[in-house]
């Protein structure tokens, strides 16, 4: 039996050796003149959120391509940027492996991860290796609360966004009786809880809190339960793949309530899936509307031409890469140790917002915009400063 054991070990060793050979010289610097700077990116590229993950990757890739086309000098040397994109499957364990791999690949910085559940465990590994990490879309408050100096995000957190949404629902829309559904993911639950706090603080009543999951397709049971409580507004904390069908089933059940949701459902996908029922739905997205930002319209035009419609976080990924490069330029080095301080103190005009970080690495003074579906597209309604929300 032990010979089996030894055999299996030697087999495993052989596999590893093979791999060692497979790792070739492609990762060496290509030309002697150009300094190669690697930037890592990670998002779920397989599984139910793959369409959003790919969107993230595309956003980062476009920024890298732009920078290479523009020709960037850092500390007097011409730089060639390389994107290393890895699939973390939205799984915390895979995320730590990916993080370690990116650290091994000697990346200068990481754009990611997409989800809070993957960003948090990976954070420690980046911090141990001194690699700055900018998440384009992790919204959990805990992400920047762990005290790691290397963690940043270019996205408002759940508290900031939930606050704006709750206030808007109760004050601007005058909702009195609000029902809440969340998908029991870190994102949906976090956002819903913050929304509830803010709505209650502004005088609204939460008449029902129901739940679904991030793979569900049928919401009729929970929506019927909600209907019995006669709300005037339904808030959903979760992603577009559920939000769209939910809005549709809401209409089909003849439940007459306004539908409101967060950034995860503010996508073209939502409108596609909800069909006519999408009309009038509200959602928020951190930042000022793209076409109101300098360079925003140009960005979206070029992105759509290259990769198709923007799903969600591609502009944030684009900004994250650019902020990182700007910090490198400012510090005159792509060495994480040297440019980390520059990154922490940066002020950069991106396509989503003017990006500045507070002491924790959260976005400082970001705005949050509320949108509504009008004639089949998301139209900005109202932009609110997130400052007050961040303070609480």
């Amino acid at each position: 039996m032990i010979s089996h054991f030894a055999r299996s070990l030697s087999l495993a060793a052989a596999t590893l050796m093979l791999l060692g050979c497979g790792k070739s010289a492609t990762t060496e610097q290509n030309a002697s003149a150009d300094l190669v700077v690697r930037i890592g990116a990670s998002a779920p590229l397989t599984g139910p959120q793959a369409h959003l993950g790919k969107d993230n990757e595309n956003g980062a890739r476009m920024a890298i391509d732009d920078a290479n086309a523009r020709g960037i000098d850092i500390g007097g040397r011409k730089v060639h940027f390389e994107l290393i994109s890895e699939d973390d499957q939205a799984d915390p364990k895979s995320a730590t492996i990916v993080a370690q791999k990116l650290a091994d690949d000697k990346v200068s910085g990481v754009i990611g991860h997409m989800n809070s559940g993957t960003s948090i465990p990976a954070e420690k590994i980046y911090s141990d290796n001194g690699i700055p990490q900018i998440s384009p879309s992790a919204t959990a408050v805990a992400y920047t609360a762990q005290g790691f100096k290397t963690a940043f995000r270019v996205m408002a957190n759940d508290a900031q966004q939930g606050h704006v949404l709750g206030e808007y629902a109760a004050k601007n829309l005058g909702a009195k009786n609000i029902a809440v559904i969340d998908d029991r993911t870190a994102y949906g639950q976090g956002l819903a809880d913050e929304f509830i706090k803010a709505a209650q603080a502004n005088g609204a009543q939460i008449v029902a809190h129901e739940y679904t999951n991030d793979k569900a397709m049928d919401f009729t049971a929970v929506l019927t339960a909600v209907k019995s409580k006669k709300p005037d507004l339904l808030f959903y904390g979760g992603m577009d793949a559920q939000g769209g069908p939910m809005a549709k089933q809401l209409k089909a059940l003849q439940l007459d309530a306004k539908f409101m949701t967060g950034d995860g459902s503010k996508t073209p996908e939502f409108i596609k899936l909800a069909g006519a029922a999408a009309e009038g739905a509200y959602a928020s997205l951190p930042g000022v509307p793209l076409d109101k930002m300098p360079g925003g319209k140009a960005f979206s035009g070029r992105f759509v031409a290259k990769y198709g419609p923007i799903q969600l976080y591609a502009p944030y990924c684009y900004d994250a890469v650019n902020v990182m490069i700007a910090a490198m330029q400012k510090a005159g080095s792509a060495d994480p140790e040297k440019y980390l301080a520059a990154l922490a103190n940066i002020s950069y005009d991106g396509v989503t917002a003017r990006i500045q970080f507070d002491a924790k690495g959260d976005l400082k003074g970001g705005a949050i915009t509320v949108y509504q579906v009008q004639h089949g597209t998301w139209q900005p309604l109202y932009t609110m400063a997130a400052n007050s929300a961040a303070a609480h």
Binding site: M1, A12, L16, T26, Q100
Partner: protein, 398 residues
């Protein structure tokens, strides 16, 4: 010699004794003893070799593979020895992980400042057996209502049990915040052995041991322990009774075997191994959340057991290593292979990776239906070419 390096050498001494205890029965003559030392040396050097050749991410992957080995060996007790098909095994891993996470993180202090003003923070050597025991308790809890069920009915109930545990972990943040719900528990203390945190780089005799290496040795020790226990169980009265139940429950009970208690014991023993590795996982990763314990993970561990060869320890270990490494190996070779073949990347590496993984599962099973390294009993059965009794998961169907 500093205190630190003393601790280090002590730890190695302990490890060597443990490993030796396991191998000694196999390596009683001289030639075999040499083999034992060679295998041990190879294992001890493994993280360094891996690190040097492939990079540190591979050491981490190997660490996870060790956790999977422990899980697979635990499941092997239930499925391989006792023949009880369990599709919710990851629940015990989850229970162990949360035991460690709750006692080793600031979460309880934040959620119940009155009861635990400073958190619990028990030493690892107390939490680990506790996690194993609690998981074992859950094993009995699962076993009790399912004693009468067979085959696929058992499979669906265990699957449901696994989901129930996950759903509770995901939702027990209200009305009292016990598990922090989907947000998971972060800032979990690293495992520390004899006052040395494994989450730091250690210098022993001038050799640098990064955190992933230290965890490797810890996991290696525990894997050796699980292997040792499995071996002893296999050859004990209990192990033989399990196999009797697996082959024919009615006959076994007619021979005076207490099938009820022995089945419960199998569930408990399997669960304990899962719980212990869960605790190690929580300490290693520093973060747990319910999404790590999905049904797919249970299925993966079952695949490891079946693919490697149910009931055979070496086979199960091999299966676990193979399936834990395969997706990562594919992650690394899919792009370079395409580049080499076609000069560019034709297909997205991610889709191709999982596609190849699924194909590998099918192909391996088609060519080695009894597992890659089948157990001796199994091989004998196949050799006899006779359809066996119909109740066990081992059987040929008709």
């Amino acid at each position: 010699m500093s205190r630190r390096s003393l601790c280090g050498s002590l730890r190695f001494g302990l490890l060597a004794t443990l490993l030796r205890g396991f191998f000694v029965m196999q390596f009683s003559d001289k030639r075999n003893r040499l083999k034992f030392w060679l295998v041990l040396a190879a294992l001890l050097l493994l993280p360094f070799i891996t690190d040097a050749l492939l990079g540190r991410s591979w050491v981490r992957i190997v660490d996870f593979a060790m956790l999977y080995i422990m899980l697979a060996l635990g499941l092997n007790i239930v499925v391989g020895y006792a023949g009880l098909l369990d599709l919710g095994y990851i629940a015990f891993f989850a229970v162990g992980a949360y035991c460690y996470a709750l006692t080793g993180s600031p979460h309880l202090a934040l959620a119940f400042p009155m009861m635990f003003p400073a958190g619990v923070h028990l030493p690892f050597w107390i939490v680990l057996p506790m996690a194993a025991l609690v998981a074992g308790g859950f094993g009995v809890l699962l076993g009790a209502p399912t004693l009468r069920l067979r085959g696929d009915y058992l499979a669906i109930v265990t699957l449901g049990f696994g989901e129930i545990i996950r759903i509770f972990l995901n939702n027990l943040d209200a009305p009292v915040n016990l598990t922090n719900g989907p947000q998971g528990i972060s800032r979990i203390d690293p495992v520390s052995v004899a006052g040395v945190s494994l989450n730091s780089t250690q210098h022993i005799f001038g050799i640098v041991f990064p955190a992933v290496h230290l965890y490797f040795y810890l996991f290696l020790a525990f894997t050796a322990l699980v292997v040792f226990v499995s071996r002893r169980l296999e050859r004990s009265r209990i192990g033989r009774a399990w196999m009797a139940i697996r082959e024919d429950e009615v006959a076994a009970s007619a021979m005076g075997i207490d099938t009820r208690n022995l089945k419960l014991l199998a569930f408990a023993m399997g669960a304990m191994s899962g719980g212990a590795s869960g605790a190690l996982f929580a300490g290693f990763q520093g973060f747990v959340s319910p999404e790590s314990f999905s049904l797919m993970e249970s299925v993966m561990v079952l695949c490891m057991v079946v693919l490697g060869g149910m009931g055979n320890i070496a086979g199960v270990i091999f299966g676990a290593i193979l399936l834990a490494l395969l997706p990562e190996v594919l992650r690394h070779i899919v792009v370079p292979a395409q580049q080499a073949l076609f000069g560019r990347t034709l297909v997205d590496p991610e889709s191709l990776r999982m596609l190849l993984f699924g194909t590998a599962l099918i192909v391996m099973m088609l060519y080695r239906p009894a597992g890659l390294l089948p157990s001796r009993v199994r091989r004998r059965e196949l050799g006899a070419d006779e359809p066996a009794a119909e109740t066990s998961v081992y059987d040929a169907t008709h």
